[in-house]
């Protein structure tokens, strides 16, 4: 199983390590090499310095056809773009993007990208810790439909998108 991770922050490095230990073939990309210091010495995957929103970089790194594509940089929009590249151009099987803005996290789930929203996750954690009601704050937005030509709905006759 092949995993591509864009962004080697704490979460990216942690997941890279976990997947590597679980026997995945892991490729992690970050714009700065210093970020890779977060990876443990035991990490057996590939760490590549480069722009994870650049299609050529991803392709050259062998990101095509990954089973899992995680967009975990600190920029919501970079994650959105990397994730859509992953799905549309690199044909990743599963894609998850970190989007901290809850509005955008929900909007992109409607467009078919699974999104993780740290804002909601933390609010829920703190509210639960305080024994308060958490309300409607999904930490993970799961898409209802596959992402493809997601914005071209107007060009497709209504009802024909599900086929």
């Amino acid at each position: 199983m092949k995993a591509v991770i864009v962004g080697c922050g704490r979460v990216g490095a942690g997941l890279a390590d976990a997947l590597d230990r679980a026997g995945w073939q892991v490729l992690i990309i970050d714009r700065t090499t210093a970020a890779f210091d977060r990876l443990p010495a035991s990490f057996g995957g590939t760490a590549l310095r480069g722009d994870g929103t650049d299609e050529d970089t991803l392709r050259r790194a062998g990101a095509e056809g990954a089973d899992l594509f995680l967009a975990l940089t600190e920029g919501d929009n970079r994650n959105v773009m990397a994730a859509q590249l992953g799905v549309e151009s690199l044909r990743a099987v599963r894609t998850v993007a970190k989007i901290n803005d809850p509005v955008r996290a929900e909007a992109y789930a409607h467009l078919g990208i699974a999104t993780v929203c740290r804002t909601n996750l933390m609010e829920v954690a703190v509210l639960s810790f305080l024994g308060q009601a958490v309300g409607d704050r999904p930490g993970v937005f799961i898409p209802e439909k596959a992402h493809s030509h997601a914005l071209d709905e107007s060009a497709v006759p209504a009802g024909s998108t599900e086929s």
């Binding site: 650049d54 050259r60 929009n77 970079r78 959105v80 773009m81 803005d101 509005v103 909007a107």
Partner: protein, 223 residues
């Protein structure tokens, strides 16, 4: 017409000014407050000092009744998100994105951005009309850079078209090792006949390039 411009750099600034002068209704969003204030001082209260990537602020700026949203920030990923939010969330009929990395054009188009303006592509197009196209492409360096992976795209008129590989005078220090034909990679054999449209992949020292180009591409045409 109501145009929502996102990004108050030079492009956004002049665009907003011109649109207002032409009698259009226009709102400019610029997330950096200092910059937004400076523009507001000059062209009036059409400036909103908020991030146009956020749905909440797009709504406040009137995205739901905009005829056109023009995303002209310096960051491609922001421009993509602005256009997608405008289209998906606010049903804006026409979205225009500035694209800095020409490689992103296809993706943006595929993802539903209506119009793509690429300054890089425009300037490139204008330069390429002036210089002969040379179809040797550097795919990467090997080792410390002493060897390069090179791709030659065989165009009509290439001296290599129709010849068998063993007939080519491949320079010393260089090796042809594969061909991509109709998108499929195949190893190169001595008896492979090269065809128009083939992409020949070679590994060689940088100083082999001149001879390699002569063999595979031919002399650059003078324009």
């Amino acid at each position: 017409m109501f145009v929502l411009v996102v990004g108050g750099g030079r492009v956004g600034y002049y665009l907003t000014k011109e649109l207002i002068d032409a009698g259009h209704e226009c709102v400019l969003m610029e997330k950096e407050r200092g910059r937004a204030d400076a523009i507001r001082d000059e062209i009036g209260s059409v400036v909103i000092a908020q991030d146009g990537c956020e749905g909440k602020y797009l709504r406040e700026a009137g995205a739901n009744r905009a005829d056109i949203v023009a995303a002209v920030t310096g960051d491609d990923e922001d421009n993509l998100v602005i256009c997608q939010m405008a289209k998906h969330h606010f049903d804006v009929p026409r979205t225009i994105a500035r694209v800095n990395n020409p490689k992103n054009e296809a993706l943006f188009r595929h993802l539903g951005v209506d119009e793509i303006i690429s300054p890089t592509r425009m300037i490139l197009g204008s330069i390429e009309q002036d210089i002969p196209i040379h179809e040797l492409l550097h795919l990467g360096a090997l080792g410390e850079g002493e060897l390069e992976i090179i791709e030659a795209h065989l165009q009509p008129g290439s001296p290599a078209v129709g010849r068998v590989v063993s007939d080519l005078r491949v320079p010393a220090g260089c090796s042809l090792f594969g061909v991509i034909r109709n998108g499929a990679p195949t190893p190169l054999r001595g008896d492979t006949i090269l065809a128009e449209g083939d992409k020949v992949i070679a590994i060689g020292r940088p100083d082999c390039e001149v001879e390699l180009r002569e063999q595979l591409i031919g002399e650059p045409e003078e324009v």
